[in-house]
């Protein structure tokens, strides 16, 4: 029995009502970000709490793009996050495959050590890293950030990739190896295509991690030429003022690449994060 039309309508309304509340709460900060970014300076404080500004303007975007180093910070962020995502994913694929498929001496200890690196806050290692990188000339450089991010991403990315490889039956690459493939070829032609959702999910994880990271970006790189956008955002907050408008506009712009990235990968991501949940 599905109940009368009335009860069904009530159930339906409650169902969607709850979803609506959730979506509204989740998206409100984002809405505020966009709202402030398009509110002209002269009414920003006067109508600070109004849900809709009485006037729209894109002056903050013009300020950010035309009168600041933001495009440079952006470029830096894309370079750092992109290379970090690619490098971490490739390395994690290699190590995750090894952990998934091979038994070797010291495997237990290596896995343990990798877990240990995930256990303490990064702040602890900043000082030694700063002094090491200073000596190596890796401060104020994008390479330094890429190395740090990649290194810190690898343990988790490895575990992630390992779990995806664990989900692929060993039989498949054995069949390929009997069919005449080398292990590497079997990996590239059979295993990698099947773990594509996992590879994309791992890359997405590493990309967003690097995209929003601020601690190392702020401490290692002080010159504008090697700053990433989170550091750039801080420039709008000075001792005297906080320039909300441009800061929000920059924030909105910073969201765009991440949104594009996730839009492109979402098909794989949903598969990836739910893969193995149901035997299929």
């Amino acid at each position: 029995m599905r109940g009368s039309f009335q009860t069904r309508t009530i159930k339906w309304s409650m169902h969607y009502g709850v979803l609506l509340v959730y979506v509204a709460v989740a998206l409100f900060p984002l809405y505020w970000l966009v709202k402030v970014s398009i509110t002209p300076d002269d009414i920003l404080y006067k109508q600070g709490t109004d849900l809709l500004p009485s006037k729209l303007s894109f002056e903050h975007y013009a300020t950010v793009i035309g009168k600041s180093d933001f495009l440079l910070f952006f470029r830096n962020s894309i370079i750092v996050s992109g290379i970090t995502a690619i490098a971490s994913t490739i390395l994690a694929m290699a190590s995750g495959y090894a952990f998934s498929r091979f038994a070797f001496k010291g495997k237990f200890w290596i896995v343990g050590l990798m877990l240990v690196t995930q256990m303490f806050p990064l702040v602890i290692v900043i000082t030694p890293i700063f002094s090491i990188f200073g000596t190596l000339g890796l401060t104020n450089s994008l390479t330094g950030l890429i190395i740090i991010y990649t290194a810190f991403n690898i343990p988790f990315a490895t575990f992630l990739m390992q779990s995806f490889f664990d989900g692929i039956p060993k039989d498949l690459e054995e069949a390929a190896m009997i069919d005449g493939a080398t292990r590497f070829k079997a990996f590239v032609q059979i295993i990698a295509p099947l773990t594509l959702p996992g590879i994309v999910a791992t890359a997405g994880f590493c990309f967003t991690g690097a995209w929003g990271e601020i601690l190392f970006a702020l401490l290692l790189n002080s010159s504008a030429s090697a700053s990433t956008f989170p550091v750039g955002l801080l420039l709008y907050s000075t001792r005297a003022t906080i320039e909300y408008g441009p800061m929000m506009a920059a924030g909105v712009l910073a969201l765009i690449p991440v949104c594009i990235f996730f839009f492109l990968i979402q098909r794989y991501l949903v598969q990836g994060l739910t893969a193995g949940a149901v035997k299929g």
Partner: protein
Amino acid sequence: MASIAINGVRKDYGAVPVLKGVDLAIDSGEFVVLVGPSGCGKSTLLRIIAGLEDLSAGEIRIGDMRVNELAPRDRDIAMVFQSYALYPHMSVRDNMSYSLKLKRTPAERIAEAVKRAGDKLGLEALQDRKPRALSGGQRQRVAMGRAIVRNPKAFLFDEPLSNLDARLREQMRFEIRKLHRDIGATSVYVTHDQIEAMTMSDRIVAMNGGIIQQVGAPLELYDNPANIFVAGFIGSPAMNFIKARAVREDNRIALYVGATKLLGMPAPDRLPDNGEVIAGVRPERIGLLPSSEAGVAATVELVEPTGVATVVHADIAGQQLKLFTTERLQLDVHQPVSLTIRPADVCLFDPISGERLRVPR
């Protein structure tokens, strides 16, 4: 096509021996079935032949070449996996042509070989489908097709039918056998199902505990098992094992179950000192008579009609045995009956070693 020689093969996983010295010669074109319970080492042996596992000692030769050091891809063998191991992201055609593509075979030769194999297995209409759109039986056929397009030196089968339902299994048994007759390729087939072993093989290799227990034609193993393991493993319903006492009477013995005399038969070449033996009798070799007639007194415990035949569980002096008759008998539980067993149908075993006690002919 090539012969396969397995010489003194041992395999240890750490301190655990899985294969404890296996010797086997498989002739070119022969269909050999490795059978045994799980953990007996049969799959490990197959994987060693394929090159998917290293061996701890011994030698594998395919044709006249030692292959111990060769990677699987260099051994020129094909394998059908229990899971079929079809490449999920490739169509049936791509699955079947993968090995030929790796060998850089010209496209028209690949198309020809795939078509020939597809026709043979009834896969013509499925060439563009992905494995997930196939039924179990079709997947099984594609796995076979992937093996035969290559024309390899030998086929290895690792329990290929165990994921199929009973009816399909019967059909695929027939098809694999027919395919072997058509192609005539050397085949090594692993199964834990003794019916598959009996019906498909030229020779059965019965394994247990990492050791080959007996090698021979199916009926030879059935009629003349070398030990109690083979006797119990081959045949369904399984052979009856009766704990009996042998009393020597000149060059004959009398077998007693408790105080009941089972039968008299020629003495085996040796007997345990205390005379305790195990007498094995196939269920279909036991005759059933109304209780008034001569024979061993027994009572009916359970009657299982299967349609084709009736399995009767009977009790002789406290020991259970099964017998198998194609007659439609009217039997009641606890009904007294007489059983007849011919001496020639009895296999005697040493209860301690499990070895057969041979009766000289």
